[in-house]
């Protein structure tokens, strides 16, 4: 279990971290979310010992994290770093050896990852000649080669095409299945929602929300009503009680509207029963129900 507790960090006058902290349990995929400059990278660099905190603690299995412990962590920094002139397999092996693996272990682990990340045809190419997506795969392999007990990945999915995202996500899922906790930061909230068991949202150096996606949803203060009405006269939505979040009069692609008019509204109702009456009077109600907020909506509300 990784416990990050009350981290503080200032850069001169700028407070980058103001008590940030969260806990990641064994086998958990933890999404670390926040706007640019919120303090994600600073937190991860402190966990990896690349940066020293002004205050707070990082504990692994209950013990303060030191150099010997960090050797068993896998890390993918935000600014990617590989030796441009080294070949793919050679490079992955090298980092395995540095982390203390025997030559045979490092080789077999590197071979496995190369296969798993579909780099087989590139194994003897210099890294400098690889596409960005492939470089990122090598970077992930470097973070994974020594079979770490914890993975700390700073924006591992940024700049990847969907196929590469799936390959990477698949490898990470294997590791969490084996009990390894994974922390990764990301801007792609749909991805975080899809992959993560737990999420932490950071804003200006402080945690503003945390928990499983379900817990976050339950905590979402605004309840959203999703209403679809056909055949209504224009202007009926003005009579809906509450605040309209979004509104469209175009049916979803592929569905042709048989009636003259189609209205889809997302509403924060002040009175839900009144809203149902208004909709029923206006036309045929095709859909009327509570909408589960997406992570993007939760994020917008929490961070706003």
């Amino acid at each position: 279990m990784l416990e990050i507790d009350g981290l503080r960090k200032r850069y001169g006058d700028l407070v980058a971290l103001d008590g940030a902290g969260f806990t990641v349990r064994p086998g958990e995929m933890f999404g670390f979310v926040g706007a640019n400059g919120a303090g994600k990278t600073t937190t991860m660099r402190i966990v990896m010992g690349v940066l020293e905190a002004d205050g707070g603690a990082v504990r692994w299995q209950g013990e303060p994290v030191g150099f010997a412990t960090r050797r068993r962590f896998g890390y993918m920094p935000e600014e990617r770093g590989l030796y441009a002139k080294m070949r793919v397999a050679e490079q992955i092996e090298y980092f395995g050896r540095l982390a203390g693996m025997s030559p045979a272990e490092a080789r077999s682990s590197a071979d496995e990852l190369i296969e798993r990340l579909t780099l087989t045809e590139r194994r003897d190419d210099e890294v400098a000649g690889l596409s960005l997506g492939n470089q990122q795969r090598v970077q992930l392999a470097v973070a994974l080669v020594h079979r770490p007990e914890l993975l700390v990945l700073d924006e591992p999915f940024s700049g990847l095409d969907p196929i590469a995202v799936d390959a990477l996500a698949g490898v990470l899922a294997e590791r969490t299945a084996a009990g390894v906790p994974v922390v990764f930061s990301s801007h792609q909230l749909d991805l975080v929602e899809r992959l993560c068991d737990s999420i932490g949202i950071i804003k200006a150096g402080r945690m503003v929300a945390g928990g499983t996606v379900a817990e976050l949803r339950a905590r979402e203060s605004r309840k959203l009503l999703h209403i679809v009405v056909t055949g209504a006269a224009p202007g009926w939505t003005d009579r809906l009680p509450g605040e309209i979040v979004s509104k469209t009069d175009r049916p979803p692609a592929g569905e042709s509207a048989e009636t003259a008019r189609y209205d889809e509204v997302v509403l924060v109702p002040s009175d839900d029963q009144e809203a149902l009456r208004v909709a029923g009077q206006a036309g045929q109600v095709q859909h009327f129900g509570w909408q589960r907020p997406s992570l993007t909506e939760i994020f917008r509300e929490v961070v706003a």
Binding site: V50, G81, Y83
Partner: protein, 390 residues
């Protein structure tokens, strides 16, 4: 320890397989061979072909062969001709450089070179003396025996002029090679440090290894490459000089001198390597490297220039002082030891001071490196990394 070896091996492997390194090594070795053989090539060598015609041709030939046998760097080939006309034709055709005809006359295209002239003259004197003595009734065999005189042995109070010139030549090569190698490898160290810092590979590396291990591995690995180049140059140079005959006999103590050069290289590299690494760790971009390194490069240049001067004036005041003061001693002292007899205490003092300086700069450089290498963004200032608080 294991980590240092791994890092050193990577440096050797990656740097050693670059085209730059391989071709550089080939070109250097080829250059050294040419340089070492150059005096012999330019000197044209003492190889002569001489024509003989006349009654004493046999005796002249024997006298020439005796001179050939006595000198290492002299070869005389003899061709005999039936008569003056044939010999004259051979000279004109360039078959022989000169010919002695009628036992009295030397024929040549233009004037005879002084070396050949002495050679022919000596042979002529020997043959003529033999003939005269035989005519006076002495036993030709005894006369021939009496002519066998061992050449003078040389004993110069201040070393032979030739030896001094050879020593100066060697010293010159030493200072040029030391400077070139040091600046090349130290630049590699600096570029390697910035490569890792700029690309942020250090962030990954330093979760597995300590900063001092990373630095030590890099310095040792590139140092091994430099040392192997130095040894390759020394061995090819000495072998080529001897095989080609440029330096038929190495001056006394050449091997001891080579050992000292290696020692000075190691000390100089420990000093400058750590210095270059520490300075390079202040910046994050390759294009900023040469700028911050300027003071360090200048220091090296001073040592080089004074070392250059010391080839001719090993005991001038400046050379004398800088041969003891680190880090200049790394390039000045080997030159002085090559061309003059440096008192043992001076050598000892210079080595002792340089060891201290190198140890100090390694410790300081290691600290600067450790504090600066993970800093991102703008150039790190000296004040920040040297502040007492660790």
């Amino acid at each position: 320890m294991n980590a240092i070896l791994l890092i050193a091996r990577r440096e050797i492997g990656v740097r050693g397989r670059t085209k730059g390194f391989r071709y550089g090594m080939l070109v250097t070795v080829a250059l050294v061979v040419v340089l070492a053989a150059l005096p012999k090539i330019l000197g044209g060598g003492d190889d002569y072909t001489v024509g003989l015609a006349g009654q004493r041709a046999d005796r002249l030939q024997a006298a020439l062969a005796a001179q050939d046998a006595q000198a290492d760097d002299l070869t005389v080939k003899v061709k005999k001709y039936a008569g003056t006309a044939a010999a004259r034709k051979a000279v004109a055709a360039g078959e022989v450089e000169a010919a002695i005809v009628d036992d009295t006359t030397v024929i040549s295209k233009t004037t005879v070179g002084s070396g050949l002239s002495v050679l022919l003259d000596t042979a002529h004197r020997i043959a003529a003396t033999e003939a005269n003595l035989a005519a006076a009734g002495l036993d030709p065999a005894k006369v021939a025996q009496a002519q066998q005189v061992a050449p003078l042995t040389e004993q110069a109070l201040e070393g032979s002029g030739e030896q001094a010139a050879i020593r100066q030549g060697i010293a010159l090569v030493i200072v040029v090679v030391l400077f070139m190698l040091l600046i090349q490898i130290c630049t590699w160290v600096a570029m390697g440090v910035v490569e890792e810092k700029g690309s942020r590979i250090v962030e990954i590396l330093l979760t597995s290894v300590r900063p001092w291990q990373l630095l030590a591995g890099k310095i040792i690995g590139l140092g091994v490459l430099g040392l192997s180049q130095l040894i390759a140059i020394a061995v090819t140079g000495l072998v080529a000089a001897q095989v080609s005959g440029s330096i038929p006999e190495l001056p006394d103590g050449t091997y001891a001198l080579m050992a000292r050069v290696v020692l000075w290289f190691v000390l100089g590299y420990a000093f400058y390597g750590a210095m270059f690494a520490a300075i390079a760790s202040l910046v994050s971009r390759q294009e900023d490297v040469s700028g911050v390194l300027t003071p360090a490069t200048m220091t090296m240049m001073v040592g080089y220039l004074v070392g250059f001067l010391a080839v001719r004036e090993p005991d001038g005041a400046l050379a004398h002082v800088l041969s003891i003061v680190p880090p200049f001693s790394a390039m000045v002292m080997p030159v002085r030891s090559a061309v003059s007899d440096v008192p043992l205490w001076e050598t000892g003092l210079a080595i002792g001071l340089m060891v201290l300086a190198a140890a100090g700069i390694l410790a300081l450089g290691g600290t600067v490196y450790r504090r600066a290498v993970l800093r991102t963004g703008a150039r790190v200032r000296w004040r920040e990394v040297l502040r007492a608080a660790s």
